[in-house]
Subunit: 309 residues, 4 copies
């Protein structure tokens, strides 16, 4: 039988010797302050166990991982109509590219590239005030993790607002095609704040359990989303969850996952567990370098790979 | 317990009423002669059972499905060095696009787009005569299916040679970057012939079993490829197996698969079975329309979806 | 000897029978109100003669023609340093494309596509208040035309501000690369107002005389710009003045010119005259359809073609 | 009055001190053998004078300059129908790019990029044998220069054939769209041989005189092409004659010209003269570095700039 705690300890120990820890994201000033020596990891199983190591109780900026949660919310609000405004194909270009929008009339390739996530935020906004919507997203995430202490890091949110010119370009571009329904500033306000949610690995692993458990949050025995939709969200995490490194992640880890430039990765082991890992140093595709290595080690030992035991 | 035979019968029955059966590929004259009323499907399980329906014993042109087999062969020949000449990211553009090669210096995005498969053929060629290499590929596929009656359709091969200008453009373009090591005509000769292998659904399902069975061909109890490589081939089938409809296929079917413009699809159910389906009418992305529908139905009933039961 | 007045009358007469007059620009609501039956034309010669026909005394929105004037101003302010922030090559794509900026790190191809003109406005802004800069541009144009009655159409300016999402996307995108030095709203404020200057054909032809006269405005005998710079501005008008129809215009008219989506075209006959023509209906490239036809007729009769008598 | 001979001598003298002479083209092995210390220049006036300096009597490979002559021939054969198969807009990308063809269904942007020139060669081929067509092109050029000693450099032709994979890619790609009417090898055979014509600056300047003289070759008093077509060929030379440096050449030299990677440039002074310059070292856009500098000096002294005296 697997001794997950020992396994996490081994991984943490092995990676502590790693010299090349990747580069901390530098385009958001607040994130650039992070120390790439951090490493934390947590596993939450659907039967209620929790394993953790390293800095698993330290909060970090979840950034693009939030896109999984807002996608879940938006599908709850408008269902498959969402797919008229966002595609579900891998993007094949760098994560903040604007080129593809030109060819596809303002419809982003998938909900996990920035442009797609901004449309998703626009759907979640749904005519409400940005403040209300931001509160609604935070509430949803707290509910998933069953933890009311989760907060938005206002310094990060402000830093993103001050420097988010590429996202403003994307948003204005989609507005030109009629694919944003609210003023650009309001939609971006929601987007920047959702990205600035700060969570620990433990909170994040727990918040992903509904995707490992057929849509039911086992912490509070509540259905978050129907079973068939869980499979689809997981599928998009597999094909699009790691920007232009998604194929690589499927190849080397073989599990649905979503990374953020804060250095976090949320990974789903269907029908078994949710895993969160955090280390701020990134690889050239913008995914956590040590986080990916840790997941490769874990998968090699556990056989948790959807492509074959 | 699942009654797979009844399920196949139901699927076949339901689809027989389908009016919009997609369009037969028309850019290869020989393929354009196909009748889109054909439908066949076969399931081969790793424990030796076989289920089939419709035209499951009629041979068709496997086309791009052959890329799975040559990738397996090429990895056997040069191992991970292959990834220096071919990427493993979804392409994000139409299957015969040449644009991406310009940006990435002649290195195709993945081994399942045409450009990538041509490089793989060049690797399999490995300094031998094209005739020998074509024979070697055919032999390999016969061995996988444990069926020596499998043949190459020479009319299709000739038709592809006569009209394959786009593939000739791709090949010359990569040659300009030094990413083909043999004369263009030789490499293309291999490529056009592997695409022209004709197989039945039953043969195809059997030939895919090694990918469902940890690399071991259960028909002859022989190891084709190591276990870790199986997972990776399956991963690439998931993220890149359906041209620009790969995300859609992962979303709606949730299994690794590879389609061909002959109307066939080979699908792997890790640790359980291999499935082949054939219907010549294609959707706009070049994937079998009824084939995909059949797979969606099968997955809905069996729960064979790697993203959650 | 040329009888320019008779020639203009003939052209006007001929074109009055034209049925297919092109489509009025519809993406700026105020411009969409224009009537495509309008046609006006004026020729101002460097020796002080003026010829006109049709609606040559009716004001219209000069739109992108203003880019010639702000380029002249910006070169006056920072000289050839301007070319570090803007290229001078034809763009090869539609006039509002954002794709190219991705490849060239936020440096637009030339000063006559929207992105380039926004950078030029940013240079003219030069740390001042947008209101002051807008006044400075208007003053410059009045001086060129020697006519203080020229005004900015505030309804058009407001309409552009309300709907200019593509330009906002371009501006934010360039800001992300550091190629705008002022807040996006301020630079766009200048840009939208310069485009909203309303002029008649007569005023416009006169305002272009300095480019036909070695840099000297003959109306007031004042040097606007040195002789070598005039040649260069004319060269850019030739290669880049008509969006993705610049090659076509050089081919069929053979004179440096700059069009605007309001339906105006300003054309320079080096060492002889400046011509303005206006008809609101556009061809698919966004250039005045009847305006171009009128210029082709004029050139055919006068031999005013820089590529050979 | 201009003393052109002294001017040429001065230019030659000044440039002899230039240290950075650009890089000789290296992608065609035979051309890579050239010595970048060469410099020659010749001016032929329409009234029969000839001025020359440096290596003006040494033959070099005219390469893409041949595109001017084959365009003239093709227009003579099929007239404006040519424009259904080739555009006349600047390309906005590197000279051997294949990307644009994807977007425009196999129709090259203009006749001076490689793809466009290959279509033009296909038009000139017109059902004849490649050998006959090559002889016809050579004959045409000899006639223009009034010099039967002009030859094709067979070593260069062979070198291009052996290494021209990019051109083979372009040709196959256009064949896939039906925009080549002959077997790829035949059309490329013509193309590679026309590029391999060897001429001296004196021969080249003389051969361009018809474009400076309203279509009439003054050497033999024979009409080569109608006057209106001359203007159009000159216009395309202006907007497209220097690959992705065409805007720059119009900006700095202000005359229609066509460069070749052999280091030659042919320039037309409408109604006055034709100029040929040769120096094998190229700038990053593939245009002769010293050749361009020499032309800038000449224009500065003569005022031969179509954009203003």
């Amino acid at each position: 039988m697997l001794d997950l705690q020992s396994l996490l300890n081994d991984i943490s120990q092995t990676l502590s010797n790693e010299v090349d820890r990747g580069k901390v994201a530098n385009y958001i000033p607040e994130l650039a302050k992070q120390d790439n020596r951090h490493f934390g990891m947590a596993i939450a199983t659907i039967d209620g166990q929790l394993f953790s190591t390293g800095d698993a109780f330290e909060a970090f900026s979840i950034q693009s991982i939030s896109k999984v949660f807002t996608l879940t919310m938006a599908l709850g609000k408008i269902g498959d109509k969402l797919w008229e405004r966002v595609g579900r194909e891998p993007s094949g270009t760098a994560f903040n590219s604007i080129v593809q929008l030109e060819h596809e009339k303002g419809v982003p390739r998938n909900p996990f590239i920035n442009a797609g996530a901004i449309v998703v935020s626009d759907i979640v906004l749904a005519g409400h005030q940005p403040k209300e919507t931001i509160a609604e997203i935070l509430c949803f995430v707290r509910c998933l993790a069953n933890d009311d202490s989760i907060l938005i890091d206002q310094d990060v949110a402000q830093s993103e607002t001050d420097t988010g010119f590429r996202n403003a370009a994307l948003a204005n571009y989609m507005r030109a095609f009629g694919n944003l329904h609210h003023p650009v500033d309001e939609t971006l306000g929601v987007y920047f704040h959702q990205c600035s949610i700060a969570m620990t690995c433990v909170q994040l692993a727990r918040s992903g359990l509904y995707l490992a458990n057929g849509g039911v949050n086992p912490l509070i025995a509540s259905t978050v989303v129907p079973r068939h939709r869980v499979r689809r969200i997981n599928a998009i995490m597999m094909t699009c969850g790691h920007y232009d490194g998604s194929g690589e992640f499927a190849f080397s880890v073989g599990l649905p996952g979503k990374s953020g430039v804060g250095g976090g990765i949320l990974v789903i082991v269907p029908d078994k567990a949710a895993i969160a890992v955090w280390s701020p140093g990134l690889d050239p595709n913008g995914n956590s370098k040590l986080g990916t290595m840790a997941l490769e080690m874990l998968v090699a030992k556990t056989g948790w790979n959807v492509f074959g035991a």
